[in-house]
Symmetry: C2
Subunit: 130 residues, 2 copies
């Protein structure tokens, strides 16, 4: 399979597949006579694995660890779980941060008339001098 097909089959763009190889997340693909990258089922599986992990918000660095664990038949699931839960904590912390920002701003906006007059509690808050 050439890179375009692999991209369609895995949901990872060809650009990203090359990138993942370049940074060592994936081993160098074997090449055809025309120097085209050639992918088999195993590679497609790995690419899908990466895409799903990305969809769950894992960084490429974390994904490298996950791939290593995936490929290790003697892994302890405890290690995977630890990694996953640490990531969950980070996701939840980020979500809380964003929600807090949203709530603060929504509150400010609720007090803003939102008409043609210039008075605006939102700007007042941002420009507050203390």
């Amino acid at each position: 399979m050439k890179i375009g097909e692999a991209a369609r089959a895995s949901g990872v763009t060809a650009k990203m597949i090359r990138h993942y190889e370049a940074i060592g997340l994936l081993p160098p693909a074997s090449r055809s006579e025309a120097n085209y990258r050639d992918y088999g089922e195993a590679e497609i599986h790995a690419l899908r694995f990466i895409r799903r992990a990305r969809d769950l918000g894992f960084s490429l660095h974390e994904i490298a660890s996950l791939l290593a664990l995936w490929g290790d038949r003697h892994r302890a699931s405890a290690e995977v779980k630890r990694l996953a839960l640490a990531h969950v904590e980070a996701l939840e912390a980020k979500a809380r941060d964003l929600s807090a920002m949203a709530a603060t701003l929504r509150h400010l906006a609720a007090h803003c008339h939102g008409d043609s007059r210039p008075d605006c509690p939102i700007l007042d808050e941002l420009a507050r001098s203390n």
Copy 2:
């Protein structure tokens, strides 16, 4: 005030102050004889404004708009409110995305024994072949 003092007074690092000037978010600062940037109260206010907007998750691009509105005595607060609420929507959407990822992953982790055995529903899900 030199840039270091301005940084301390505003909570924006000197590095970032220079950056904001470089990208045109702030007008070029006036310079001392030694070519040092010189800041007055007005500039400190603007820097604090920027920092607060950043704390609320606004992008520098959005902040440019907010600064323009802030400086426009004839602005309509409707415009500010519109911007703020659009940003709130984006924040909430992002927060929802992160929460969904966290929930999915927490669910998977809950089914993972997390012991020394290799079986792991988390990896199974990532490696799912359909």
